[in-house]
Symmetry: C2
Subunit: 87 residues, 2 copies
């Protein structure tokens, strides 16, 4: 059914979505100053995971993996900062 | 510095962290019944992204990518369900 689809296009779209997904959460906590309900543990584990993906990108020398994960890490660290600030 | 590290080990660790990261958030919303502060938009975009990664895994025939993203998608949909329920 999908055999004629180039996996690279789907992977690019996937990376775009999973990177951008953190933006509305970052905006929401910055604007509302409400951190209730948010799990600090989630963002700490996510930061560790994104850091590993960044290292993975460096090891396989993939600029797109490095770039996407630098953006994700920045947004995730921003959310962690605001969770701690509005605790 | 890291040139002697197998990228596959780092990638596996990264996938493990970014998949498990959603678990503490899922537990927190289920236990506290508090959805305030959580961005519905984030989880909807994340679900779309994880769905694309799942399709990517099917296209490149990678059982580990398929497996990790089925778990992530399940947890993300669980969080979306509870955000809507406790709105």
């Amino acid at each position: 059914m999908f055999t004629n689809v180039n996996p690279e296009y789907v992977g690019f779209l996937a990376a775009f979505f999973t990177t951008c997904a953190f933006l509305p959460q970052a905006y929401k906590i910055w604007k509302s100053k409400v951190s209730e309900g948010l799990s600090l543990a989630m963002y700490v584990v996510m930061a560790a995971g994104v850091l590993c993906w960044l290292l993975f990108g460096i090891l396989i020398k993939s600029p797109s993996v490095i770039f996407a994960n630098i953006i994700s890490l920045t947004i995730v660290l921003f959310i962690i900062f605001f969770i701690l600030k509005f605790k």
